[in-house]
């Protein structure tokens, strides 16, 4: 059966800031491998420009539609306001002068631009595209799938912007099926959005092919002659738990004073983090690496003796899979979706920085443990190929079409 999905995304490599773009790309590529035709609609600050990566140019089953917009998925209304004020009044008309307007603009334009397509299903990713998804599904009279990668509650430590929360809820209610990236996220939808659990399917994110081929650490590098290094990689926002990371670092440092802690990523909490480092007198131990490229990230993963993901609320947490793929032992928050699929690693409550530190110290002290995590965890990633995860999505399509 040939299936055509009209998909509304909102970030895509190389223009991406976080896991959503990576997950979208993995899913689209996985769907293509499963014989699904994809029309992908993306917001793009320079819709006319041609430099945009169109996944695999030789692929005939995908078409991309670019919508001129300044939207990015991790934006708050304030941040949008700052950005839009930096462009000319003329262009503000095109982008939308505030976030709600920008979303309305994206919705209208993207629905308009795809009227000529004849999809079998409409599939949209996270709140900014839900409006477009709802309208497109109505126009084409086709089933609507809303995919949820992260809720407003995850991003705000359960203090949502009511307007965004409302849009999310509308999307969930209008959907024929919801795809949640974890049981953790499914539970949030049931408990905090009042959504019928029967309507929600869990499809965990996959590990990209690139990860499966990631070069492993050389065992000679694991001989602990260098000072141990513990890595954090993520946006520096409340959700990702950078403060918890520093509290953990402080406790680890007491036993292993030579430990280096690298925090890679940028975000609104930079100031607070710098202050906390000073407060804990961690200047000698903590390095803030800022935003890193994929190549730099790979280097850091390989160099790290331990990767810690202390997120307060993490719908999935692809970084943990990336670390694992590079042979780095992981300590991850129990409040995460990825903890549902990672067996070979430590899982702790994000607030329990004592235990987090203890797990890190155990990994640093116990060579056999580190070795086993290094080898056993990457092997288990093969169960999580995108091709396989996309097969679940395809079967959701099939059930809806029938």
């Amino acid at each position: 059966m040939s299936i055509h999905t009209l998909m509304f995304g909102w970030e895509y490599p190389p223009l991406h800031l976080g896991g959503l773009g990576v997950a979208c790309q993995g899913l689209v590529q996985g769907l293509l491998k499963n014989g699904v035709h994809v029309t992908l609609v993306l917001p793009h600050p320079h819709a006319q420009s041609e430099e945009h990566d169109v996944i695999s140019p030789k692929e005939h089953r995908i078409r991309t539609v670019k919508v001129q917009s300044m939207l990015n998925p991790y934006m708050t209304t304030d941040q949008y306001f700052q950005q839009i004020n930096a462009v000319s009044k003329e262009m503000q008309q095109v982008y939308g002068s505030d976030l709600p307007q920008a979303v309305t603009h994206f919705t209208e334009v993207s629905v308009e631009l795809t009227k000529h397509t004849s999809p079998d299903v409409v599939h949209c990713h996270d709140w900014m595209t839900y409006g477009a998804g709802i309208r497109a599904a109505k126009y084409h009279r086709k089933p609507l799938i809303t995919h949820i990668h992260a809720t407003e509650l995850d991003r705000t430590n359960f203090h949502p912007d009511e307007w965004i929360y409302g849009l999310e809820r509308q999307g969930f209610q209008a959907a024929d099926r919801i795809v949640a990236v974890s049981n953790y996220t499914k539970n949030i939808l049931v408990e905090h959005y009042g959504i019928d659990p029967a309507k929600i399917m869990v499809v965990h994110n996959g590990s990209s092919e690139e990860h499966l081929r990631a070069p492993q650490k050389l065992t000679s590098l694991c001989g602990r002659k260098h000072a141990p290094m513990v890595l954090f990689l993520g946006r520096l926002t409340l959700q990702k738990g950078p403060i918890q990371f520093l509290e953990m670092a402080n406790k680890v440092r007491r036993f292993r004073p030579d430990t280096q802690f690298i925090m890679a990523g940028e975000g609104g909490m930079m100031g607070e983090i710098v202050q906390k480092v000073r407060e804990l007198n961690l200047q000698e131990n903590v390095a803030l690496a800022g935003k890193v490229s994929s190549a730099e990230a790979r280097k850091l993963y390989r160099k790290a003796d331990c990767f810690v993901m202390p997120s307060l609320s993490e719908p999935f947490g692809l970084v943990a899979l990336e670390a694992i793929a590079h042979g780095t032992p992981v300590v991850i928050s129990k409040q995460s979706g990825v903890s549902e699929v990672v067996g070979h690693g430590f899982k702790v409550d994000f607030w329990d920085t004592d235990k987090m530190a203890d797990c890190v110290l155990t990994i640093l002290r116990e060579q056999p443990l580190a070795n086993q995590l290094r080898t056993a965890a990457p092997r288990s990633l093969q169960y999580l190929r995108w091709e396989n995860q996309a097969k679940h999505v395809r079967s959701i399509y099939e059930k809806l079409i029938r």
Binding site: H204, F255, V341, V342, G343, H344, G345, F346, K347, D354, K355, D358, C359, L361, T362, R365, E366, Q367, P368, L369, N371, Q372, L373, A376, S380, L381, Y383, L384
Partner: protein, 431 residues
């Protein structure tokens, strides 16, 4: 007497480990370091006592008193008997009441339900002797039959047991070793002499004074044992629901001299809950057996009857056990952390024995209990297929974390007690 049908030999394993506390690196070397989770161990013991030990013993007493041809055997670990004293003296009393019927045989094992047979024969024989002493003290009989932890067995181990003076040893009737032969028959290990070094070690600790000339091997009939222990309440199993007369038919059809039904005692009420009808099943067996002229006898009685017959050779060059489908050591010694943990533990043996500190010796031995290593097993620990584990901890890695902290602490204490032999003599060292 009809003797065309085999006898039944019931043996039940009774054991509870000392589970570890959520130890932290910050605890290591502290004054009041406690390795074991007193609260959790008490709670589990008392829960299982209510569900299994007390009701099962009550029923067993009734059956032993009612049916003259019904006997059973138990192997009760030393650490379980200690926990009886700590958490449930009534459980110990109920076992003692069974012993008083004179129809219950108690088997020998390592006091600490340990993996010592894999690492140190000296340590192993000491633990077996200590266990035999305890059984004699509590139940008034000195064990004549040996069963090793989780039925771990090898040719060498059988001869060690023979040298220690045991009449018989239990083993898993593993298909790959039986090669189509009947597990119900009489078996003995192939005869050979142990290395002189091992013989000497064993001679030092001989619970029975003298070595035996031969030793019998009783093999578990795992199909029929597991029908009760694992499949009894499995609704997808073709034999469900298992009735005692059907089960007796199966027993009678298997031939040989003795159907050896070996299982965890916790099968009754804990692995199979009371509402599955497991107690009713057990209650009805001796009655049917009596009607059909089948006797349930003890391992020693089986061996006495088999002595008159020619025994076949049961040849096990490598270790077999009753664990998992592999029936090897992989439940405890498959992955890197399991092997590292056991190696590191036994690396402390010289230090522990030299230190002569009773408490540290006891703690070192409690860490040898096989369950600690079982909890670290990752055989089925695939992502997306997280194996439902009978473990008190979150994960195999959590088990290792706690264990490694206990070990670090123990090492620290031992090193502070024992002057380092490698310490350079100040006389000869360079300034």
């Amino acid at each position: 007497m009809k003797h065309t049908y085999p006898n039944i030999c019931f043996y039940f394993q009774v054991h509870q480990p000392y589970r570890l506390r959520d130890l932290r690196i910050t605890d290591i070397g502290s004054e009041k370091m406690e390795y074991f989770d007193e609260e959790k161990n008490r709670a589990i013991f008392q829960k299982v006592a209510q569900k299994c030990y007390l009701p099962a013993n009550k029923l067993m007493l009734e059956l032993l008193e009612t049916y003259p041809d019904f006997s059973v055997a138990y192997s009760i670990s030393g650490v379980f008997l200690e926990q009886c004293t700590l958490y449930g003296p009534d459980v110990l009393e109920s076992f003692q009441a069974l012993a008083k019927t004179g129809k219950v045989e108690f088997l020998a094992e390592t006091y600490y339900h340990s993996l010592s047979s894999l690492k140190s024969i000296a340590e192993f024989v000491e633990q077996v002797s200590a266990h035999a002493d305890l059984i004699e003290e509590l139940f008034g009989q000195r064990p004549r039959i040996f069963r090793n932890t989780e039925l771990i067995y090898s040719n060498e181990l059988a001869h060690i047991a023979r040298l220690m003076g045991f009449d018989g040893i239990l083993a898993e009737g593993a298909d790959h070793l039986l090669k189509g032969q009947n597990p119900n028959d009489a078996y003995t290990p192939p005869s050979f002499r142990l290395p002189r070094g091992i013989e000497r070690i064993v001679q030092k600790e001989r619970p029975h004074g003298k070595a035996m000339r031969r030793i019998s091997v009783l093999l578990k009939n795992y199909r029929l044992s597991d029908d009760v222990a694992f499949r009894f309440s499995d609704k997808t199993w073709i034999g469900y629901p298992l009735r005692s007369d059907t089960f007796t038919d199966w027993l009678m059809q298997t031939g040989g001299s003795s159907v050896n039904l070996f299982m965890d005692y916790e099968t009754f009420g804990e692995h199979q809950w009371a509402d599955t009808g497991i107690f009713d099943f057990l209650r009805s067996l001796p009655k049917i057996w009596q009607e059909r002229g089948i006797r349930a006898i003890t391992p020693s009685q089986v061996i006495a009857l088999q002595r008159k017959k020619e025994a076949k050779v049961f040849d096990s060059h490598t270790h077999v056990s009753w664990a998992d489908t592999e029936r090897d050591l992989s439940a405890w010694q498959e992955n890197e952390i399991q092997r590292a943990a056991l190696d590191a533990l036994f690396a402390l043996e010289p230090l522990v024995k030299q230190a002569g500190n009773k408490k540290l010796l006891d703690e070192w031995r409690k860490l040898q209990t096989s369950d600690h290593f079982y909890y670290m097993c990752t055989k089925y620990w695939n992502d997306g297929d997280v194996h439902k584990y009978f473990s008190p901890y979150d994960s195999p890695y959590e088990a290792y974390r706690r264990f490694s902290h206990a070990l670090c602490d123990l090492r620290t204490r031992l090193e502070s007690l024992t002057p380092r032999t490698q310490t350079p003599n100040p006389k000869y060292s360079n300034p």
